[in-house]
């Protein structure tokens, strides 16, 4: 019973974080209609930013949020403006231009990181990295708990933003029907740029708060992109609320998988979920086959 509760806690805490990752990708998918295959790589960049700030300037990761988030927002804006938006005008035989472009960008980001930091594993050690507190017999990692609340905080903020602000509404409008939104005066180019920036900033937050309890190396982007994709699909394409549930689901699945099946097959399980999700999406299937 204890083990079960412990696993449950671990799953939920991780799930909150995953929800944040999925939220970013879900926004991008909803507004631009593309799968951002560089999503994990953007997170990786944020993690390196956090590492540098911690290692060379001694800045606490949670404070780094104030740097990493704007930085990644800016990076996202640049990427969308100069590499993705232009593609909407270009006519090419290949329909998946934009997705392919994100692959290229992901590669560039990964290799630049490798160039600067080498492939060595890096980590950030803080006073609370290993600290835990106990509720009864269940241990809670303090770092993960803080991350969870930060993630929840950002998620709630995003909901307020999307529902209550003009920009947020414009984003939702563009996601629902780009042409209609255009007709109503929404500058769709600007919205796509802002959305990509927002998505990047969100995943940056996830990466930054994850640093104290995770390890970092350039290739970490790939698996996280895959996770982000699974989360987004599980929750229903482009659905922001769904991404939260998708995140929780994946967090729980991984936690229970690790506890009851074993770490050795971790990668394969992730891959299997990826494939199953791709084939049997709940509720999003129809949209897939007609895109």
């Amino acid at each position: 019973m204890e083990v079960f509760l412990q696993t449950l806690v671990a799953g939920i805490l991780k799930g909150g974080l995953y929800g944040l990752i999925g939220l970013g990708m879900s926004l991008i998918m909803g507004v631009m209609g593309i799968i951002n295959l560089a999503h994990g790589q953007l997170m990786m960049v944020a993690m390196y930013v956090t590492f540098v700030l911690s290692h060379y300037l001694g800045i606490d990761p949670y404070l780094s949020l104030f740097v990493s988030m704007p930085a990644l927002f800016f990076l996202g804006v640049v990427i969308q403006k100069y590499t993705l938006n232009p593609l909407m005008e270009v006519d090419s035989i290949l329909p998946e231009n934009q997705v392919l472009m994100t692959v290229g960008i992901g590669m560039v980001l990964t290799e630049i990181a490798r160039f600067i930091f080498t492939s060595d594993y890096k980590s950030v050690q803080t006073s609370y990295s290993d600290a835990t507190f106990f509720l009864g017999e269940i241990s809670f990692s303090i770092a993960l708990v803080i991350s969870f609340f930060i993630a929840v905080g950002f998620t709630l903020f995003m909901f307020w933003f999307l529902l209550k602000t003009d920009t947020g509404r414009s984003i939702r409008a563009t996601a629902q029907d780009k042409d209609a939104a255009l007709l109503m005066g929404v500058n769709s180019k600007r919205i796509t740029v802002i959305t990509f920036g927002l998505g990047s900033a969100l995943v940056a937050a996830a990466g930054t708060v994850l640093m104290p309890v995770y390890y970092l190396f350039p290739d970490i982007g790939g698996p996280f992109t895959r996770k982000a994709f699974v989360i987004t699909i599980l929750g229903g394409l482009g659905s922001t609320v769904g991404a939260i549930f998708g995140g929780l689901t994946l967090g729980l699945a991984e936690a229970f998988g690790a506890t009851y099946i074993g770490m050795a097959y971790d990668d394969m399980i992730g891959l299997l979920i990826f494939i199953l999700v791709l084939l049997f999406l709940p509720g999003g299937f129809k949209r897939l086959t007609k895109i």
Binding site: L87, P95, N97, V108, L278
Partner: protein
């Protein structure tokens, strides 16, 4: 004149190793020929049929392992792998296409990526069968590169001719129709599922054979090499898009350029940096040389970005555009 270009090129390629005895260049050309085959295959399913695959390494690796395992487990010459490699790759393509062709666009691309990774994992885990990370080692049949050169040349030529033949036939029209508008294609009596399968299997066959040849030539393979996402699958895409998506000769041009680019990085701009470092005794240049040789993936990434932005139809596809840019006075002629 234009019509004879391929023939002239072919003659040059045939004479090449007899005239130019340098093993290094022969090696590069063998790689080029292998990539022509892979690129042509990718072009059939992606460029002509519009189903972009991110995971052609799955077929390449299957072909390579078929050849290798035949030798390793059964003592049969790996050359039989050339025939069986293609067939085994089709055996992988068939169920994959059957299940995943219901997915359109980017989702099919992701599924192919998953296929790639699954194959890699299986090859790594299934040690009794595949030797896992240890890989497969076989005795090369020939010492000199020349026989391999000609076999690879034949493979490349066969691939290009095969694609040309297919695209001029009913299948070709059907593939293009599927690419242009799948719904319209259906209404014109085209069983899109069936023909997507045909297209994929052609691609798998060519790529599988290339893999088998690779096994025979290199003598050693392991899961990381032949099922590599970046070095095989993404390279295949680059060969396709740099050369020209949806053109017959695009893959040939693309293969040549991409192998060149890869060598360019691997040797640090063909030894430029090393040379300069030696000349000036500069430490920085030495270090730079070392980094550059490992940076080919970065180069590939940048190339993907640039090609998609500026040359989306590749060198062959955007030939008129290229000519116009470099030879403005020729532009009028090309535009008509």
């Amino acid at each position: 004149m234009k019509k004879f270009m391929p023939l002239i090129l072919l003659i040059i390629l045939i004479i090449f190793p007899l005239v130019y005895q340098n093993a290094y260049y022969q090696h590069l050309m063998i790689l080029v020929f292998i990539w022509v085959a892979i690129g042509s295959g990718w072009n059939v399913i992606a460029g002509f049929t519009g189903q972009v695959s991110f995971g052609d390494a799955a077929f390449f690796g299957t072909g390579a392992y078929t050849a290798g395992l035949l030798a390793h487990h059964f003592g049969i010459s790996a050359w039989w792998g050339m025939a069986f490699g293609g067939i085994m790759a089709m055996a992988v393509a068939f169920p994959f296409g059957w299940i995943c062709f219901r997915l359109r666009g980017a989702y099919f691309a992701l599924a192919s990526l998953a296929l790639n990774e699954v194959c890699r994992h299986i090859a790594t885990i299934a040690e009794p069968l595949t030797q896992g990370m240890v890989g497969i080692l076989i005795m090369p049949t020939f010492v000199s590169k020349i026989p391999y050169y000609y076999i690879a040349l034949v493979l490349a030529v066969v691939s290009v001719i095969c694609v040309q033949f297919v695209m001029k036939s009913k299948w070709g029209y059907y593939f293009l129709s599927i690419r242009e508008d799948q719904d319209a294609a259906e209404s014109l009596g085209i069983d899109t599922h069936r023909y997507k399968m045909v297209s994929l299997n052609i691609a798998a066959f060519l790529t599988g054979m290339a893999g088998a040849l690779f096994m025979n030539y290199m003598g050693f393979i392991d899961p990381e090499v032949v099922f590599s996402l970046h070095d095989i699958s993404i390279m295949a895409i680059l060969v396709g898009i740099v050369g020209g998506v949806g053109t017959i000769y695009g893959p040939a041009v693309g293969a040549f350029v991409m192998v060149g680019v890869h060598e360019f990085f691997r040797t640090g701009f063909f030894g430029f940096f090393k040379g300069m470092a030696a000349l000036t005794g500069s430490d920085f240049l030495n270090i730079a040389a070392k980094y550059i040789s490992h940076a080919h993936v970065l180069g590939f990434g940048i190339l993907v970005v640039l090609v998609i932005l500026y040359l989306p139809n590749g060198i062959v596809g955007d030939w008129n555009k290229l000519v116009g840019r470099f030879f403005p006075f020729k532009k009028k002629e090309a535009a008509t």
